[in-house]
Each structure stands twice: as structure tokens, then as C-alpha cells.
């Protein structure tokens, strides 16, 4: 031992060993530091990543809440369909990725095997439709049209169909009770888009891939309430996606029910009568154009006068909202939004714009009184009114002599309002406007809620327009370049107009104020605005925010959130003036322009007030307007290219009132036949088990009512029919209970259309109709001038002046 020299302990070696030791320590230190960095500093971040790695969600969609009418009749609910779906996770575990099972399944369902296989593949950049773009852990629906027999076959031989389920599932249904389809008010659903998904990701109510989102109407406005909360089960999975444990489960919470103020029966009557009126108008010859009236679109609003609640709202043309359920087919989509479709998705009651014509005249009447004119006048109702070289004629050049404002409303005398408006225009400085011009006629319009949104609880309402000084300036600013470019002095007619507009289009001219005073020129209103105005006249001067939604009731009926009527403002009229206008409008119904439509009306029992309007549209046929009210309701109807106010819309409005109050054509009131003599006060009851107490509704209240009227009018009518009708009426009064969701597979008629068409997804498409809606809506009432063409009120004013003739807005 001792003979071994201490060779390992030379200084050089010792130093080298210290170097090694230091290197080793620093390596270990590096590891420790890095470990600290990953686990302590960035630990939370990685923990999040890890949970994203191995937790997968399976979603149980929430059942969407129903949309009910005022008495509990379901306008939109869910039906149960047998949905056959395949679990991809199970299939992928099989040797052939489930091909054999899917082929067998295709045989049972009577579908080509290829279709079934394509449905379960996952979408990616290279995979064309059909493919599944949801979560791979979600059961993938193969069909939602399985028959009970097919479902049984699959269930009974579960061992032959591993990973395949056949279960009933709730699918949206628009039931159209009593044929009231209410399409545009209800709206429709379409699948959530990627964009929306991402946007809502971090909000309180995130979307799920499988969610359907309301795209228009009530479905959109009350989407959050109706949608409920989908149930989520989180599974822990391994790197191959195999489930290794259930992490947590949130059960699905069904959506709440929305009770509306719509009455399905009145809605049906309104829709039916509007359609009948338009059909009738199309048989009438237009003496101005020598063509039949086109009556291409129309709308009617029935509103509770004391609350602003909408009892019925119909827009024509309409469509079947069920076309959207389960993905709209390409063909259906084209027919709803294409160029030749006439845009049935538009709700013309809130999106259709038109000059109001003479139903506007209540506003200049109030304006004149506020400006200091007396109601009684008298004012000269001459056959025409001239300003400079221009002659503005009265309707059919009638001359009624010196009359009061009330009488001017009754006979719809244009020249009285021309004169008053022109006078005010001069008082405000005429062509050199004063700094604080009073602008009574324009200000009053705004105070009546025109040119603003009514705030109705439906999406995409449009504002309309009050063509005041401000608007003239803005419009000129926006269009002057185009006008000045195309305008030419002494050129063609259109060029001359553009030239004039370029020079002085920013100023409010005498002709503008004259046209405006009778609801012509650039004035644009929506039916809902006019319905609100006439409801305010009926209820003593309060403008309510119109509402369709009345209450939101939780699925178990325990929580009821009422949507109370909301007074927005008071009409700028004194009680006295209001009474005077009220009297005048009653006069219209009894001895004025609308009297011939209310022959035999029980005026003493149910005082009727009305105003007719026939608005001119450049290049088109006249728009028919009819605005009415009783103490309970206001009803406003309009038909584009439909003719005169009372002529085209009169009978329909009368029929709606007949239905509401149970009035026979002869004027006999029959309380039993009245659908809704006073507005529905109580809310329908939702039981704790989710069923809704609602009355039975007959097959088609509108047609039955007509049939009953006809049989009554025929003296030797079939007595049995009457009895039957009475029976039906009694049936309506008897309460009945419908349960939701109703039995499976009730409605298959529309499924045929969908089959084969590609699934329509995405809000891109879903949004478009509403976008189109706005532009189209403005066109509706405006003779296309909003296309940016250099024409406008001036054009129409001049046109009217040059023609120096023609019919005036009155009927």
C-alpha cells in the first residue's frame, strides 16, 4: 500500500478535479433553475394546457324555450324527432374505423352507405361537405328522420351497432296554430358561426359548437332567454382520445318560455285578410297606369292602444319558417333571399318604408295648433294652391270651401295643409331661413316619434325619415358630388333635376314644405310607427314603446319576468286638441273618406276612428294606407302598389275589427264570436312540469269567420253550418292543455324539400336577409330614389307641379 505514490493528488489533478466539481454543480444548478421556471413560474400556464390536453367536452343541447301567444298557444316550440347518431370515439376503436357498422346502419336507414360514411368524417381544409365540423367527441347525427321502426331495430340489436344511438331529440317547430304562421315576427335559427363562437368565448354566455342562434325576429331578440344553457360533461381522455374518466357534468338547463302579446287567432285573421286584400287589389285596374294593381307587398299591425303591445303583426309576402329547421336547403334559401323572391324574410311592419300620405295629416293638424292656428279656422279648401309658377292641386281638384281643421281631416283636404305649411315656411324665413326657425311642422313629427326607432323588441327596425332642414343638408352633402357631376342646365329631365339639386338641394324650399304637409315628398314611415301614433291618439296622448314580448317564464313556471309597457313620451297636444282630432277621426269613419267602409258599424258601442291615405310613389302605383283605432286597439294597414287607402285596405281592416269584437257585417255584436273584445290581461300558466295551459285553437279562425259571415248573410243558409261554427266557438272557449314538447314525428311534410340540399350554416348567410332588409325596406316606399340616384322629393314635387294635375293624397 505504502509503495503506491500519491499520484492522484498532484496539484494539477486536484485543480482539474475542482473544475469538474464546479462544472457538475453548475449543470445541476441549471436543471434546478429550469425546473423552477417551468413548474413554479410558468406552472399555471402549463396546468391550463394540460387540462386542455386531456379533457374533452360532450354537450347535451338545452331545449329551447317556446314562444307563446298571449293565451299560451305555442307559436314556436319543439317537436321530438328520432335522431340516429354515431359516436366517433367508439367507431375509431374498431378495427376498420367502424366502416362495417356504418354500412350496416345505412342498410337499416335505407341510405347509401357512402352518405353515412361521409357524414361521420371530420371536416378539414381538404374534406368537402358533407362532413362533421363539430367536436369529434360529440355524437354525430346521421339522420333526424328515423322512423320508430328503424330506431327499434337499432336499439334492439345494440350489440350489432356499437357506438350507434337512436334517441328522441328536440327540434324546433313553428307550429302555425290556426294557420297563423307569424313568420317574420318569430324569426328563425341557424347554426352558430366560428366568429360568434370565438367572440362569445369569454363572455358569461358562451356558445357551443352545436348551438342554434336566433337570426331574426323574436328568436334573435330573446335569444339569450330562449336558448337556455347547454349541459356539458367533461371527460378525461388519453392521447388516443379514449375516455379514462368522467371529470364533471353540468346538466342542461332548458330555455325560458317567451309569452308574447300576439293572439294567434287575431294574427291569423290579420294575415289572411291582408293577403285577401292584396289578392283583391290585384284585380283592380289602376286608372293612372292602366295596369292592374301589383299589390306586391303589405303589412298590418294590430296594437293594444293602452299599452303599445302588438296583438298581431303580419307582413306579406311571407314564408314558412320551418324551412330553416335543421339547416335550410340551397333551393329554399334562394327562394327566400334571391332577386326574384320579393324578400319574404323582411318584416315590412317594422322594415317597410313608405310615404304615409294622408294618414300623416293628424301631425300637421297638431303642428298647426301648436304654431298658433285655431282648430276651427276656417281655412279655405280650394281646388288648388299655387306657389310661384307651381300649382299644387287638391285631390281630384275638389273644392270644399272654408272649413275647420277637423273637416279638413274628414275630407282629407290637401290645400288647407299646403297653405298652413307654406305660411309657416314663410314665417321661418322662407328661402332665407331665420336662425331659430320654429319649424313647427317638422318638430311635431319628431315629437310624434317619426324619424326615430319606436324601440320595438324586434331586431333591424328602421327609422324612417322626417325631411327637415337638417336632413336636407345631410342628404345634399352626401349626394351633391353625384348631382353636380350628372346635372346639366337645360339637359334632359333627370339632368335638369340633378342640376337644380346640385345648386340648392341643401335648402328647404317652399315646394318641399307643401309636399311634406300631406305626408309626401321625402317623408318615410313604417307601419309600426303609425300604429304607435294612432294608439297614442286613442289612449289620450301617450306614445308607448311597442312590444311583442309580454313575459319571460322559466321552464318550470316559477319565475315570471314581466315585460311591462313602457311609456316613451307624450304627444305634443293639449287635451282639447286631442279631443278635437279624435272627433274629426271619428268623423272620417262615420261621414268622411272611410265612412263607406264602416257601413253599419256599431259606432255607439265601439266608437271607430279612422284615417285613409293614398301615398304617391314616383314610378310606381300608389301605396294604400289605412290607420284606425278604437279605445282598445289601433290597426294600421298598408299595401304597396295597392291603390287607395280605403279602397284596398278598408275591407281587411273592417274584417279584423269584426273578428276582434265579434261584429257581424250588419253591425250586430255577438260576444261569443268576438276573438278578443278586450286585450288579454292574464298570462298563460306554465306548470312546474313544463306543460303549458293553453286553449284549443280551431283549424283556421280566419276562414271559419268568413264562412260564418257568409252563411249568416244567406237567409236560407244551412243551419247545420251555423251550429257547427257555434260548436267551434265554444270549443275555443273551453280550456285545453297541450304539452310541450308534443309527440314525435308530427310534421314531415317539409323534410322532403330539405333532403339532398346542402346544410346551410353560418350567420354569414343568416345575416344577409336582414341586411338586405334594410336597403330593400327603404326602396319599398321610396320609388328607388335611395339608390343614390339624383332624384328626390324635389323631383316628385316638380313632377307633380309640372303635371299640374293628378290625384292628391286622399281617398
Amino acid at each position: 500500500m505504502t509503495n503506491i505514490p500519491e499520484t492522484g493528488r498532484s496539484t494539477r489533478v486536484q485543480i482539474r478535479l475542482v473544475v469538474i466539481q464546479v462544472l457538475v454543480l453548475s449543470l445541476l444548478g441549471t436543471l434546478g433553475g429550469r425546473l423552477w421556471y417551468l413548474q413554479i413560474r410558468e406552472g399555471a400556464e402549463y396546468a391550463k394546457k394540460a387540462s386542455g390536453n386531456h379533457v374533452q367536452q360532450v354537450v347535451q343541447p338545452a331545449v329551447r324555450g317556446s314562444i307563446l301567444d298571449a293565451r299560451g298557444v305555442a307559436l314556436a316550440d319543439n317537436e321530438t324527432r328520432l335522431v340516429v347518431s354515431a359516436s366517433r370515439t367508439d367507431l375509431m376503436r374498431m378495427r376498420d374505423d367502424g366502416e362495417a357498422v356504418l354500412t350496416k346502419l345505412a342498410g337499416v336507414l335505407g341510405m347509401p352507405a357512402k352518405d353515412v360514411l361521409e357524414k361521420v368524417r371530420l371536416c378539414d381544409a381538404e374534406t368537402p361537405q358533407p362532413c362533421w365540423n363539430g367536436s369529434p367527441y360529440q355524437p354525430i347525427p346521421i339522420t333526424d328522420e328515423a322512423t320508430a321502426k328503424q330506431a327499434l331495430q337499432i336499439r334492439e340489436r345494440a350489440e350489432d351497432f356499437p357506438g350507434i344511438t337512436a334517441e328522441p331529440q328536440a327540434v324546433r317547430r313553428y307550429a302555425a296554430p290556426g294557420q297563423a304562421n307569424t313568420a317574420q315576427v318569430l324569426g328563425y335559427l341557424s347554426p352558430v358561426t366560428d366568429e360568434e363562437l370565438q367572440k362569445a368565448q369569454d363572455t358569461a354566455s358562451p356558445y357551443l359548437r352545436s348551438d342554434q342562434v336566433g337570426r331574426s325576429g323574436l328568436e334573435r331578440e330573446y335569444d339569450k332567454e330562449l336558448r337556455g344553457k347547454a349541459g356539458v360533461t367533461r371527460y378525461e381522455v388519453d392521447n388516443l382520445g379514449r375516455v379514462i374518466g368522467e371529470a364533471e357534468a353540468d346538466p342542461a338547463e332548458p330555455g325560458a318560455n317567451l309569452v308574447t302579446s300576439i293572439d294567434a287567432r287575431v294574427q291569423r285573421v290579420a294575415e289572411y285578410e291582408l293577403n285577401e286584400a292584396m289578392k283583391a287589389a290585384r284585380k283592380e285596374m289602376d286608372r293612372n297606369t292602366n295596369r292592374l294593381y301589383e299589390a306586391d307587398s303589405g303589412a298590418v299591425v294590430v296594437m293594444e292602444a293602452k299599452t303599445g303591445r302588438v296583438v298581431a303583426m303580419a307582413s306579406n309576402p311571407s314564408y314558412d319558417p320551418n324551412a330553416w329547421v335543421g339547416g335550410i336547403s340551397g333551393k329554399d334559401y334562394a327562394s327566400l333571399t334571391g332577386k326574384d323572391s320579393n324578400y319574404p324574410l323582411l318584416n315590412r311592419a317594422i322594415q317597410g318604408l313608405s310615404a304615409p300620405g294622408s294618414i300623416f295629416k293628424v301631425i300637421p293638424t297638431a303642428a298647426a295648433i301648436n304654431a298658433g292656428y285655431s282648430f276651427d279656422g276656417p281655412y279655405e279648401c280650394s281646388s288648388s294652391y299655387s306657389i310661384g309658377g307651381q300649382v299644387f292641386k287638391n285631390f281630384e281638384s275638389q273644392n270644399h270651401g272654408a272649413i275647420s281643421l277637423g273637416r279638413a281631416l274628414e275630407v282629407s283636404c290637401d290645400t288647407v295643409f299646403y297653405r298652413l305649411s307654406h305660411e309657416e315656411w314663410k314665417r321661418d324665413g322662407g328661402n332665407k331661413p331665420k336662425k331659430n326657425a320654429k319649424d313647427w311642422f317638422y318638430k311635431t313629427s319628431h315629437q310624434f316619434g317619426l324619424g326615430e326607432l319606436t324601440g320595438i323588441d324586434l331586431p333591424n327596425e328602421v327609422t324612417g325619415r322626417v325631411p327637415d332642414r337638417q336632413w336636407k343638408r345631410d342628404y345634399w352633402e352626401a349626394n351633391k358630388d353625384a348631382w353636380c357631376k350628372s346635372g346639366k342646365k337645360g339637359g334632359s329631365y333627370v339632368e335638369q333635376i340633378a342640376y337644380e339639386n346640385c345648386l340648392e338641394g341643401n335648402r328647404l324650399r317652399a315646394g318641399d314644405s307643401v309636399n311634406y304637409s300631406i305626408g309626401q315628398g321625402d317623408t318615410l314611415v313604417t307601419p309600426i310607427q303609425m300604429a304607435s301614433v294612432y294608439a297614442a291618439l286613442a289612449n289620450g296622448g301617450t306614445l308607448y314603446r311597442p312590444t311583442v314580448g309580454k313575459a319571460v317564464i322559466s321552464p318550470d313556471g316559477k319565475q315570471v319576468t314581466k315585460i311591462e309597457p313602457e311609456a316613451q313620451s307624450k304627444l305634443p297636444v293639449t287635451k282639447k286638441t286631442l279631443a278635437e282630432i279624435d272627433g274629426a277621426l271619428e268623423g272620417v269613419a262615420t261621414r268622411g273618406t272611410a265612412a263607406w267602409r264602416f257601413g253599419g258599424w256599431p259606432q255607439d258601442e265601439i266608437p271607430m276612428h279612422a284615417k285613409t291615405g293614398t301615398a304617391e310613389v314616383y314610378g310606381k302605383q300608389t301605396t294604400s294606407w289605412f290607420a284606425t283605432y278604437t279605445k282598445d286597439y289601433s290597426v294600421v294597414m298598408t299595401i304597396a302598389q295597392g291603390g287607395t287607402g280605403s279602397g284596398a285596405s278598408g275591407p281587411a281592416v273592417r274584417n279584423i275589427y269584426n273578428a276582434l269584437y265579434g261584429v257581424s257585417p250588419e253591425g250586430v255584436i255577438d260576444g261569443k264570436k268576438a276573438l278578443l273584445p278586450t286585450p288579454q290581461k292574464t298570462l298563460p300558466k306554465v306548470r312546474t312540469d313544463g306543460t303549458i295551459v293553453s286553449p284549443k285553437i280551431s283549424k283556421d279562425p280566419a276562414k271559419e269567420r268568413r264562412a260564418a259571415e257568409e252563411s249568416e248573410q244567406t237567409p236560407d243558409g244551412d243551419g247545420q253550418d251555423q251550429d257547427q261554427n257555434q260548436d267551434q266557438n265554444q270549443n275555443q272557449d273551453q280550456g285545453a292543455t297541450t304539452t310541450t314538447p308534443p309527440p314525435a314525428n308530427r310534421d314531415t311534410r317539409r323534410r322532403e324539400a330539405r333532403r339532398g340540399g346542402p346544410r346551410r350554416g353560418g350567420g354569414g348567410r343568416g345575416d344577409r336577409p336582414s341586411g338586405d332588409g334594410r336597403t330593400r325596406g327603404e326602396r319599398t316606399g321610396d320609388g328607388g330614389q335611395d339608390d343614390g340616384r339624383p332624384s328626390g322629393g324635389r323631383l316628385r314635387g316638380a313632377l307633380r307641379a309640372r303635371r299640374a294635375a293628378g290625384r292628391r293624397a286622399a281617398a
Partner: protein, 416 residues
């Protein structure tokens, strides 16, 4: 594996057959053993068995349906490793010195066998010999040890004989040649991870041998130039370059090496301070990290035991390395010093590389974590090395351990 120990007693290699009482004497080898190393290595092996168990108990694809399959085999390997350590201790490293040429030749022969059709490929490296019955050995693990022993023998021969203060150039050249042969063969497999470890071992051995600085810096310089040349000439396979680059940037190869790197980092990072608890790691249970019982075993510790568990493994390795360094410094002969330093270089770099790749600071290579990773060859090799360390400690001059004047005791198992 006490049977192994007994068999050594029974076979009568020790001079005194009934040495049990001496085992506990003041100067007995049991008392003189480096217990911290032994305990740390045993602790690492047992901890490793738990981690391996956690990683494999659900892997029905590889555990033959027996959740304890890998646990039991890891214990078995540890037991054999302990036996091997005792065997080395019994023989003594100086006695083994005479056998070094034979051991070296055997190990080179084994790795040559790997290149023949007898060898098999696992995970892209052709570095295994299948023995049948589910057993296979990885000779490159043993080559690491024989390189250390062989180089130490050459480098220390003239110095320990008292001829020279430091190894001469010719000796160094010979030693390098001795190391280069197996390294080239391993590179052909190709098992780059092992080659990297061998390069570091060579550097460590040269450092500790007291060879001229010029050799050290010259080698490092040559290595750098060589690495750049290999890179530029494209000698390496695509997967090797990918593996190398993806540790820094997992996006380079997200489905391949980047996936490993990413999942390993997620597993470790999600562990936090105390981890998810043993057998509770969802990354581990979900088998998101590949090769988790072998190369990526540290991720199990990171996820399930957190910073505490991961840190414990590093600390235990540190204890072994620290003690090994002390042994290298305290021993008197250069041979012992070089062997101990070589083992330090080996353990240190292999641990650093293995843990470093799971932490995303080193390229991904197929290297086991000493004691912890599942694998017989690696386990036997590291326990043999522990045996060598213990032997070096026991056989240093007794003057260093005993008070002067006292007659030097002859430790058991000393044949010289």
C-alpha cells in the same frame, strides 16, 4: 437479490468466510463504505420504480396485462445492480484493473454484434441485442464504463509507476484511440446520445488524468469544428437534425420530436410545486408523453410529484456526484482518481442531458436517467460504477483514514 450476495459468500472469494462480525467492526468495509452514495442510489432506484410503475400500470399494450410487470422488473434490475456493486467491491477495482483489457474487448465485441443481424432497432437507434424471453441488452451502456476503465489504465500506468508526473502525449493518443473505436461503432448505430456522453467522459477522463491543457482545448476545438462539419455535410439523418432542432422550437416538428418536447414540458409544467400526486397525473395516465418509463421518466416525477419530487431527484443525483467528486479528490492513485472522475463526468452529463431534454433545454436523445429509468443494461452499468466508486474509496491509503501509529487494517476483499 440477496441470493446473489450469498452466492459470493458461499463461493468463498473472501479471505474470511464468516466475516459477519467484522462487517460491523470500526474499520470494516461496511463502516467505511460511502453510505450517502449507496443510500442516494438506492433511493433513486426505488423512486424510479414508483415512477416507472405509474407510467406503465395502464399500458396494457406493453405490460402484458400485468400492471406490476415493470415495477417488479425494475426491482429485479435494482437487485441485480446491487449484487453487481457488491461483486465489484469484492473484487476491488485494482484487481479488476488487470481484467480491463478483456472487459474492454468484450464490450467492443458486443457493440459490434449490435451492427450484425443480431442487433435490433428500438426508437430509431440500432443499439440493442435481443436475448429472447423479452430480455435485450444495450451494450453501449457498458462501453461507457469500459472506456473509462481502459483510458484510466493507459493514462495512469506510467504515472502510478512513478515514471512521469503526468501522462505523456503518446499515452494520451493511445487512450484517445482506445475511446475512439467504440465511439465510432456507436455512432454508426446511430446512438448519438451515447456518443455525446462518451465525448464528455473522454473530456472528464483527460481532465482528471492531468494531461496537458493543449489536449483538452485541442479536443474541444476539434469537437466543435467536427460538429459544424457534420452539420454542414449532412452526414446526419433528417430525424436526427429534427430531434436536435425541435427541443428549442417544438413547432419545427410538431408531430414528431416537437410533440415529445411539448408534451413533456406540459407534463412537468403542470406539476407545479407539489404535483398532482403519485398515480394522479393526467398527462401520465393519458399517456401523452412517449417513452415515459425510460427516457422521459423524469416527466412522471415532474407531473405527479411536482417541483418537490423533481428537485429531490436532482438533489439525490447531486449527492452521488458530490460524494464521487470527493472520492476522486481523496484517493491517492491516479487510476482511482481517473475512474472516479470519469464516472462523475458520465453520471453528470447523462443526467443533465436526460432531465434537460424533458425540460426543453437539451436536444431529445435516447438516454436513460441513471437509476431512475427502466432498463436493465443502464441499471447494471450505473450500479457497477457505484461499485467502482465504493472500491476506490475503500482502497485509498489507510493513512488518510486512520490515526497515525495504528497498524493499517486490511480491508476485506483486498487482493493486492
Amino acid at each position: 437479490m440477496s441470493g446473489g450476495v450469498n452466492s459470493f459468500h458461499v463461493s468463498g472469494y473472501g479471505p474470511e468466510r464468516a466475516g459477519w462480525t467484522r462487517l460491523f467492526a470500526r474499520d470494516s468495509p461496511a463502516r467505511l463504505l460511502d453510505w450517502p452514495i449507496l443510500l442516494a442510489a438506492t433511493a433513486l432506484s426505488l423512486l424510479g420504480s414508483l415512477l416507472v410503475f405509474s407510467a406503465t400500470r395502464n399500458r396494457t399494450d406493453i405490460n402484458q396485462g400485468d400492471p406490476y410487470y415493470f415495477l417488479v422488473r425494475h426491482w429485479l434490475n435494482t437487485g441485480i445492480g446491487l449484487a453487481l456493486m457488491i461483486a465489484v467491491l469484492w473484487l476491488g477495482h485494482r484487481a479488476l484493473r488487470t481484467a480491463v483489457p478483456v472487459l474492454y474487448g468484450l464490450s467492443v465485441l458486443l457493440i459490434l454484434l449490435v451492427l450484425t443481424p443480431l442487433g435490433s432497432t428500438i426508437n430509431g437507434a440500432h443499439s440493442w441485442i435481443k436475448l429472447g424471453g423479452g430480455f435485450s441488452i444495450q451494450p453501449s451502456e457498458f462501453v461507457k464504463l469500459t472506456i473509462i476503465l481502459g483510458m484510466a489504465m493507459l493514462l495512469a500506468a506510467r504515472v502510478d509507476a512513478g515514471d512521469k508526473p503526468h501522462p505523456g502525449h503518446r499515452t494520451v493518443l493511445q487512450a484517445l484511440g482506445l475511446a475512439a473505436v467504440p465511439m465510432l461503432i456507436v455512432m454508426l448505430m446511430p446512438d448519438l446520445g451515447s456518443v455525446m456522453v462518451m465525448v464528455v467522459i473522454v473530456l472528464g477522463v483527460l481532465l482528471a488524468s492531468g494531461a496537458s491543457n493543449r489536449w483538452i482545448f485541442g479536443l474541444i476545438g476539434t469537437g466543435a469544428i467536427g460538429a459544424i462539419t457534420v452539420w454542414q455535410l449532412g452526414v446526419l439523418d433528417e430525424y436526427q437534425i429534427n430531434r436536435f432542432a425541435a427541443f428549442a422550437n417544438p413547432e419545427l416538428d410538431p408531430a414528431g420530436v416537437g410533440y415529445n418536447t411539448n408534451q413533456a414540458r406540459i407534463a412537468i409544467g403542470s406539476g407545479g410545486l407539489t404535483g398532482s400526486g403519485l398515480f394522479e397525473g393526467s398527462q401520465t395516465t393519458g399517456q401523452f408523453v412517449p417513452e415515459q418509463q425510460t427516457d422521459f421518466v423524469f416527466t412522471v416525477a415532474g407531473e405527479e410529484l411536482g417541483f418537490v419530487g423533481g428537485g429531490l431527484i436532482i438533489v439525490l443525483l447531486g449527492v452521488i456526484l458530490w460524494r464521487a467528486c470527493r472520492i476522486a479528490r481523496d484517493t491517492t492513485d491516479l487510476y482511482g482518481t481517473i475512474v472516479a472522475a470519469g464516472i462523475v463526468a458520465w453520471f453528470a452529463f447523462q443526467s443533465f442531458e436526460n432531465i434537460g431534454m424533458t425540460l426543453g433545454i437539451m436536444p431529445v436523445t435516447g438516454l436513460p436517467l441513471p437509476f431512475v429509468s427502466y432498463g436493465g443494461s443502464s441499471m447494471f452499468a450505473v450500479w457497477l460504477a457505484v461499485g467502482l466508486l465504493q472500491s476506490i474509496r475503500l482502497q485509498r491509503p489507510l493513512s488518510a483514514m486512520n490515526p497515525p501509529g495504528r497498524p493499517p487494517a486490511r480491508p476485506a476483499g483486498l487482493l493486492v
